[in-house]
């Protein structure tokens, strides 16, 4: 491997003139300083904990929580359930807001980003103004403002019925909910299986098209797998269909599903703020595709929407994905601001937990651990997606 002209390899010399030796000394010194600082902080902390008689450890997670939580995706009763379960509810609430937020941010951001490049002067100006205003206002101010707006809605007793069964009040939105039966579960399962089958069929069709030029028809299978089979299953169970419609009582609604005002305010704030960033990312991604691509596709006789969908966006995605990842991470992390308006997300619940138990270190370690996991998962997924979309060069 080494050419004959290589300098002879020297062993390390214990002298300041040897860069390798210097590097080792420097690292020892720096690690020593950092280690010493950490040791000092840990020593202080344990002295403080001993003085305040705070026990360490996670035993408190098994104790009864006693925290009332307004929204929970899994059953929860503060007088029975433990801190551990409250913690899980916090994670689920955070994930719920993050996932809905990311989807809405992507949709709104893509729309505004594309619209800001529109040939219509009014539309593009409006979109750019939207971006400029939304992202120059702190997210927390967004949240406080939208929460006041939600609280300014009519009180529960005078709730507005915007659609049949959908009531809006300062308490949130009440929606009709389908009374879920086994038939619906089986039909949904059949639908998902159908989706997978159609996906496989489409890939096969593309393969055959690439090989022979003829594309076998996929749509008959799609209709059968996505509509007919689930419908037959549903009918086979006797076609149960009963909507649980919220009925206005004296002080509260009976039945139906509910979305709380806090969650609505949080979602509006998060989506408005982050969609402005997403729109900028989409816009700069599209402008990064050279205009020759538009012209070439136009010369082939494709319509502008088709060009955008089939030619420009796939190329723009390579520029869009990395910054979009940090926007998604931002949505996940900023959902923690929910604590300011009282939505019971992870941070809000853990914050109550650590105020009640005094277990500050454990509480903050839990918050950080969960967010690190979420952040890493999102980055890993987006890296995988990015690798899939990346230009494969010969």
């Amino acid at each position: 491997m080494s050419s004959p002209r290589d300098a002879p390899r020297k062993g390390m010399q214990l002298s300041w003139a040897d860069p390798k030796f210097r590097a080792i000394i420097w690292q020892i010194v720096i690690l020593g300083i950092i280690g010493g600082t950490i040791w000092y902080l840990v020593a202080n902390t344990s002295a403080n904990l001993a003085q305040r008689r705070i026990a360490t450890g996670f035993e408190f997670m098994g104790r009864t929580a006693g925290i009332p939580i307004g929204e929970h995706l899994i059953a929860y009763d503060p007088s029975i359930n433990t801190y551990g379960r409250a913690f899980v509810i916090g994670i689920l609430n955070t994930l719920q807001v993050t996932i809905i937020g990311v989807v809405l941010v992507t949709l709104l951001g893509t729309f505004v980003g594309i619209a800001s490049l529109s040939g219509n002067w009014l539309l593009s100006r409006l979109c750019r103004t939207y971006v400029e205003i939304m992202r120059d206002i702190p997210l927390l101010l967004h949240l406080l403002f939208w929460y006041t707006m939600v609280l300014g809605l009519p009180i529960l007793r005078e709730a507005i019925e915007v659609l049949p069964g959908v009531h809006i009040s300062n308490n949130g939105v009440k929606v009709p909910l389908l009374d879920w039966q086994p038939a619906h579960s089986w039909a949904s399962l059949a639908f998902i299986v159908g989706l997978v089958l159609v996906g496989i069929a489409r890939r096969r069709a593309t393969r055959i098209q690439n090989a022979t030029g003829d594309r076998p028809k996929v749509w008959p299978l799609a209709i059968a797998a996505l509509i007919l089979v689930p419908a037959i299953i549903w009918l086979g169970f006797g076609a149960p269909f009963h909507m649980d419609i919220p009925v206005k009582g004296r002080f509260r609604f009976e039945g139906g599903g509910a979305v709380s005002g806090e969650m609505i305010a949080l979602l509006i704030g998060l989506v408005l703020y982050h969609s402005a960033y997403a729109a900028e990312i989409v816009r700069s991604g599209i402008t990064s595709v050279v205009s020759g691509q538009w012209e070439a596709a136009g010369a082939l006789g494709l319509h502008r929407p088709t060009v955008l969908r089939k030619i420009v966006l796939p190329q723009a995605l390579r520029v869009i994905i990395p910054p979009m990842t940090s926007t998604y991470l931002g949505v996940a992390k900023n959902s923690s601001l929910a604590v300011a308006i009282g939505y019971p997300d992870l941070v809000a619940i853990v914050n109550t937990m650590l105020n009640q138990t005094g277990q500050a270190i454990e509480g903050i370690a839990l918050i950080m651990g969960v967010y690190l996991t979420i952040s890493l998962t999102i980055s890993l997924f987006m890296n995988w997606y990015n690798a899939r979309m990346a230009l494969v060069e010969r």
Partner: protein, 378 residues
């Protein structure tokens, strides 16, 4: 390169005629280009007009600007209550603007807060001018920040001493973000250099862990850490005040993000610069200080400004741990019973203040990017 190319004198070409469109022609191409475009224009135009008319009606025409005081000298918000829902009540701003801007800072000393705001603005303007981009700028920063500290605290030169827990409002927002930047920046440069280090793997590892750890968690968790865990870290009995703890958290947070920006600048430099410096026999610090950093930092000023805009907005999060920044003082002003119903007006004013700062910085950063890009492309 251009010196080696033989220039063939080109015959001067006639400048193409400027296509000047009349307003009608302009509208036809930009607003009514197709059926869909026309429909969008009409629909948008209708809604925007309706919104604008409604807003002007609410904010200017039906609004109340001042309210009367009753016999006891108390403000009487009846005038506002009458127009509630139809007109804005700007009287709340008129009554509370000094509290919103300066918080609980002693009323007679609030001119000091005003000077501090002016000093910050001057500092930003001076830093924005390219002719001041030299080492001396650091001294200007140190001098200004010291003056600001003296003005806020007082206790010398005949100024009344004002304890830190009385500070509030816009000065706090500016202090948290600007001091955050001033202290985070040197740390960020060190961390970025550490992450790029090839000879010190242990240091590189620590820098990577630090950056990824901080960037992976929300600022709020760091602020909680500062407010509940920091006291545990200190020797028994020593308890630094809340503002300082929040400031430390913001510095640590900012440094991780700035380090990534600086790293981008370090990576954008061509390798030849490093090799040339090595070939001259410069030591590591000479190479970085004289050759690499001056060029790298110049290229990252636009993203640096964008990051700073982010911190400026993020300082509002200190509301959650109860520090009296601009947003908190706005919220506290609203706690007064007579003004409770007029939060929209106060939030609009706060939004306007934040918007002015962020918009100005964003415009500056974009202009700079274009200008720097031009000189690089040349």
């Amino acid at each position: 390169m251009s010196a080696t190319v033989n220039h063939i004198p080109m015959p001067a070409r006639a400048e193409p005629k400027l296509l000047s469109l009349g307003p009608l022609e302009w509208a036809r191409t930009n607003l009514f280009g197709s059926i869909w475009s026309s429909l969008v224009t009409l629909a948008l135009g209708y809604f925007m007009l309706k919104f604008a008319v409604g807003f002007i009606d609410w904010a200017l025409i039906k609004s109340v600007w001042t309210v009367q005081s009753d016999a006891a000298g108390k403000l009487d918000p009846t005038a506002c209550r009458i127009v509630k829902g139809e007109g804005a009540c700007w009287a709340v701003i008129w009554d509370k603007y000094r509290f919103i801007l300066f918080g609980r800072y002693p009323y007679d000393e609030q001119w000091r807060g005003a000077i501090v705001i002016a000093l910050f603005l001057a500092l930003f303007v001076v830093s924005a001018m390219r002719r001041f981009w030299r080492k001396e700028l650091a001294y200007i920063w140190i001098a200004t920040l010291t003056t600001i500290g003296v003005l806020m605290w007082g206790g010398v030169f005949g100024l009344v001493y004002v304890p830190q827990d009385l500070w509030g409002g816009l000065p706090i927002t500016l202090i948290l973000s600007t001091f955050g930047l001033a202290f985070a920046f040197p740390l960020a440069v060190l961390v970025a250099l550490g992450r790029r280090s090839t000879t010190l793997p242990a240091v590189k590892f620590i820098c990577v862990v630090y950056i990824e750890l901080i960037r992976g968690v929300p600022l709020i968790s760091l602020l909680f850490m500062a407010s509940v865990m920091f006291p545990l870290f200190m020797p028994v009995g020593l308890n630094p005040d809340k503002l300082l703890r929040a400031q430390v958290a913001i510095i640590l947070f900012a440094a991780a993000y700035l380090a990534e920006v600086v790293r981008g600048g370090l990576q954008s430099l061509p390798k030849g610069q490093y090799e040339a410096a090595d070939a001259l026999g410069l030591t590591y610090w000479q190479k970085m200080g004289q050759i690499i950093l001056p060029q790298a930092l110049r290229t990252v000023i636009p993203p640096l400004v964008n990051t700073f805009i982010g911190f400026f907005k993020d300082t509002s999060l200190v509301l959650i741990i109860g520090i009296f920044d601009l947003l908190t003082s706005g919220k506290v002003a609203l706690a007064e019973p007579i003004w409770q119903a007029y939060s929209t007006e106060v939030y609009l004013m706060l939004a306007l203040i934040y918007f002015c700062f962020c918009f100005a910085m964003a415009r500056y950063s974009r202009g700079l990017e274009r200008e720097l890009g031009r000189s690089v492309r040349r």
